[in-house]
Every structure is written in structure tokens, then in C-alpha cells.
Symmetry: C2
Subunit: 358 residues, 2 copies
Amino acid sequence: MLEQFKVSHDDAEFVKDDDLKRTVAGIFEKMGVPPEDALLAADVQVLADLRGVDSHGVSNMLKSYVAGYQEGSINPKPNWKVIRETPAAANVDSDRGLGTIITPKAMDIAIEKAKKVGVGMVTIGNARHLGMASYHAMRALEHDMIGVCMTSCPPSVLPTFGAEPRLGTNPIAIAVPAKNEPPFVFDAATSSVAVNKIRIAGRLGAEIPGGWLAAEDGSPIMEPSQAPENVTLLPLGSDRELGSHKGYGLSCIVDILAGVLTGFGYGAVPGRPNFGHYVAAYSIEAFTDVEPFKVQMDEWSQMMQSTKPAPGHDRVLVAGLPEAEVEAVRRKEGIPLHPEVAEWIRDTCGELSVNCLF
Amino acid sequence: MLEQFKVSHDDAEFVKDDDLKRTVAGIFEKMGVPPEDALLAADVQVLADLRGVDSHGVSNMLKSYVAGYQEGSINPKPNWKVIRETPAAANVDSDRGLGTIITPKAMDIAIEKAKKVGVGMVTIGNARHLGMASYHAMRALEHDMIGVCMTSCPPSVLPTFGAEPRLGTNPIAIAVPAKNEPPFVFDAATSSVAVNKIRIAGRLGAEIPGGWLAAEDGSPIMEPSQAPENVTLLPLGSDRELGSHKGYGLSCIVDILAGVLTGFGYGAVPGRPNFGHYVAAYSIEAFTDVEPFKVQMDEWSQMMQSTKPAPGHDRVLVAGLPEAEVEAVRRKEGIPLHPEVAEWIRDTCGELSVNCLF
């Protein structure tokens, strides 16, 4: 049933990642973003596209970022600063800067701390959307560190037994280096399903499976049904019997660590600047020898992949593997853009006098 | 449907927590465990009973710990030591010591580190069962810290699309202090359901809901059925459509942080000492002011609890609230022990010449 939600790329336009990145960076510069920051923001979006995480790539996010800059809700030149700091911890006021730009910088602070004391952990308040959470977690990989990223989002998900959304989709991302295998990269919302899958189903008039959504009174819809207009998501686990209290609890953890702990409020605080973030880096060397760790991560990954598959499946995947496979293809063949998206980018470039490289 | 799995306490014997604790400590001492460690081990088990987490209390765990000491797989006087250390991190070789005894000590190391540098993180290899994971996380609360605990267990859970168990139930526990509300205490396996719920269903001949188990060929059983003899658990999310790749990924994270990172192997390594652990403490003061944080945690918890409930439910819970409510009752009325359990403890005390206080 999942296959039907994939947007067909038969009519897609293929664009080289570097061309897309420099074009997007040009648009960011026209929003008043300094060149180096513009390139960073573009890199975050294009890596999502390269890895097949289209929901967080250029197609899905650029428009809203441009709108945010234009309406003034995102600050193009934020005076972001560390407002509290210890050797292993820091808290950042991001001054309404875009999360795709501030979060990598906060992650770099966490990495520097982890180099010195073994672990670095940074919270980010007064923040805006950070794009694909795993981008920031993956920044730790080249330093032989484990990277973590979480983000507390505005409410769209019900607590178990509840009839009102109190939590965001609140994703958790973790990246772990291996030696020859692709790094383990987990990046998932703590809701049962991503909201864009339901939007796509709605557009296609497709039936959605049970366990994704709640009815208006808060009851989990556990049978296949048409996608409703007003979407309220269920936590991972769908209902109490299947463990939704676990998905709900995990979402709460994200809301606390990336929300309350920042001192800038949690997801459901009315008028809270819309996002709060949390990043961390753990130096592997601080716990055990790096080389044997990476060799064992290879062995662990191969063990998972060599698991005998259940009927109807070719193979067992491990987080980060399918994304690495897509990335290898797209770096060579280019990123498939829907013609409407390519058109919108060209139009936007035209309006802003940006050189569109495709 | 969940209610039917609760063991009736109509015929239970009620024992005061302190009497149970000192009796259990007496049994541990006879296993060769030093008195202070014996009391700590008993405290971990009895707190589980007090909080209604009967699966990890005296009834369910004491017998296996006694067997472990008697057959020599658990070391009563481990020469545990920190084998690597930085200001924020440490790795411990627990020398086959019981996790209920070594993990609190590792958590104390993490807390001391967090006092000094803001964050402390300790991995524990060569380890044994740690009881209720949240016990260790909760140790951080009185220091105005957030506590984390994870444990990598022997395989019983399928990876998504897989037909062979590769991961343990791999729980994640986090404890966060509040001011007047009970602390937020999350403690859950990353599998769809706890294995003991299925065992109880099997004993009662009850039907189990869909989404808990896999058939022998690895296919998720998504309809209600009788509990099979050979139980293979599904990850949280049950099947791919409902998000089992998320539960699977979370379980992998635990296996990496509490397994591979210890340097003593992951859950599926043949012959690995059966468990690996991970604890962490985050000093709230290192990120933001403690008092406003705790006040906001109260506000956050009340916001969750005051969510309008869905039909069929009285109220919305928050992790740690039901456990705190049970604890208040059981501290007053005593811990309900099944007569067979009470009898087994009395018999064991008789055999070991331990003074049974009930």
C-alpha cells in the first residue's frame, strides 16, 4: 500500500546536485542571508534530496523558507549566541535564524566540546525549521563521533487517550559511523506516519491504512479509510494496545529536551517561536577504541542485512542503507524534480534576478 | 482487552516495602553479595514493585537472580572498574556484576561528571540484568538532572521485514524532574509489547491482539489470535505500514549505545555476556535555570493531563504519573505479592537461613 504514495518521477527533470545547491544558495542570498550561510542552507536541503528524503528537500521546503524570510518570521542575519555554557553543554538563542543554518553551527560547538571532554550537547531556542534532522546528526560522522538531533515542533499529534493535539511530529535522528558499510543513520518522526504521506494520499484520493490518524473525537482510526480533511496524527504505535503510549512518551522526551530545556518553551506553548532544537555529539574515542568500534559496526550492519527475510520481502534493511543507495544514484544521475517545482524555482530565480543553473 | 492480562490481586498478600526490601537483601547477602550492595539490589527490585512495574519487581526477577548467582553466571563480588574516562564520559567493565548493583554506581559517576562539566555519560559492558531501567534514570532527579538509561538485551525481536530475532526488547528510560507534579518518567521496551504480557495471555489461554507477534516465518500477525508457543516479538509500530521501522531503528540505537559502544559486543553476538548498559545525566543548570525549568515542567505536565480525553477514556496520562499514583498507595498499603511468590520467598529464606520479615 505504501508504494501508491510515491510520486512518479517518470516526468521528472533531473538536476545535478551542485547546480541545484548553487541555485538555491542564490535564492537565499536574495533573502538577505550572507553567502556562506546561504550555501549551508542549500547544502542541508540538497542533501535531503540526494538521500531521497524528498519531504525535506528543495521541493517541499524552499517555498516555505522563502515565505518566512519575506514575511519576516525568519531572520536572515540573526545575532545568534551562546547564552549559557559549560565544558560539555551549551544553550543557544538562535534569534529567529533558520534552523538549517544555526543547527549545524550548534552541532559544531557540540563536536568541539566532545573533542575536549568526550560529550557535547547543545540546545537551541527561539528557533526555526531545521530541515532534515539527520543532516545535523551526520555532521559528527567525519569526526568519528555519534551525532544526535531532535526538534520540538508545533502540535499536530494526539497524546494517547487524548482528543487534542499537544505534540509535534518531534523527530529523533542519530548517526553512527561504520568502516566500510554506510553509516547507521536513523531519522524518524515520533508520530505513526509523516503528515506529507497523508497529504499525498489526499491528493491522490487514495485510501490510507488504519493506525495513521484519529477521528475528530480523538478515537484512533484503525481501519483503512479515505484521508480526512482535518488531519490529526497518532503517536508511533497508533493505539494503546499497539504501544502508542511509547510513541507518545518518546515525543514528550523530544518536547522536553528540545523545548523545555532550551528555556524558550515547548511545542504547545501559544506563541512560542515555532521550533526548539537539541543536538549532541559523543566521541567514540571517549568510550572505546575507534577502529574496532567501526569494524564492529560493519559486522553489526551486515548481521542485520543478512537476516533471513520474511515472506514478500527481498532483504532486511538497516537505517541509513536505503538513503546511501539513493544518494549514490542521485549524485551520478541528478536529483529528480517535479516539473512544477523546477518551474517554480525558475520563476523565483527570474523574479529575484538569480542565475538558475538548470 | 489489556485489563484481562492483569493478574488478580484479590488473593494477594500485602507486604510493607521495607520488610520486603530487608528480606530480599538478606537473600542477596547469602548469595555472597556484600551488605551494602545487597540492600541496593533489593531497593531496585522493591521500587519496581512499589511503582506497579511488577514485571521487574521481586515476583518476576528475584528467582532468576538467585539462579544466576548459584550457577555462577553472576559475580557476587565483581571487581568492576572504569576502563576509560574523560571529563564527560566513562566506560565500565562490570566484571559480570548484577546490573541492578553496578548501574546505580555508574549513574553516580555520570552524575558527578554532570556536576562538573554539565553532562555525564557512562557505558557498562560485561554486564548482567539491570532491573527496572527507570530506577537508574531516576537517580538523577534529586540532583536536578535529567537521567537516561538504556540496556541492550539478548535477541527476541525481529527487525522489520526479517524472520529471525536480532534485537532485544532494548528499553529506553528517561526521568525529568518537575516541581510539584510527579517527575516525568518514561520507561519502555522498543518492542511492540513486553514479553511477559504474552506469557500471561498464554497462561490464561486468552486471545492476544494483532500487532504484537510474528508468525514462525516472520510475518507480522495483525489479527487477534491465540498466543503461540514460540514467541517472537515485533518492534514498536508492529509492521512497516504502522511504522515498525521506527521501533526497529530505536532498538538499534539502544543496541549500539549500550552494546557496540561498550566494546563488549551487541545483543546478537553469540556468547556475549548477556547485557550491555548505558546511563547519562544532564545537569539542567548547565542549560537553563533550574527553578523556572521545574515550574515549566509542572505547566507542561498539567497541559498534557488537561487534554480533552477521547471517547471511552477518563483522562490523559503522562509518563510517570500512574506509577507515582500506585507508589503512593503501595507505600501505605503494602506491596501485593501473589501467594505463590510469598511462599517461594519464605521457602528460600528457610533454606538459606534468612530472617523473612513477613
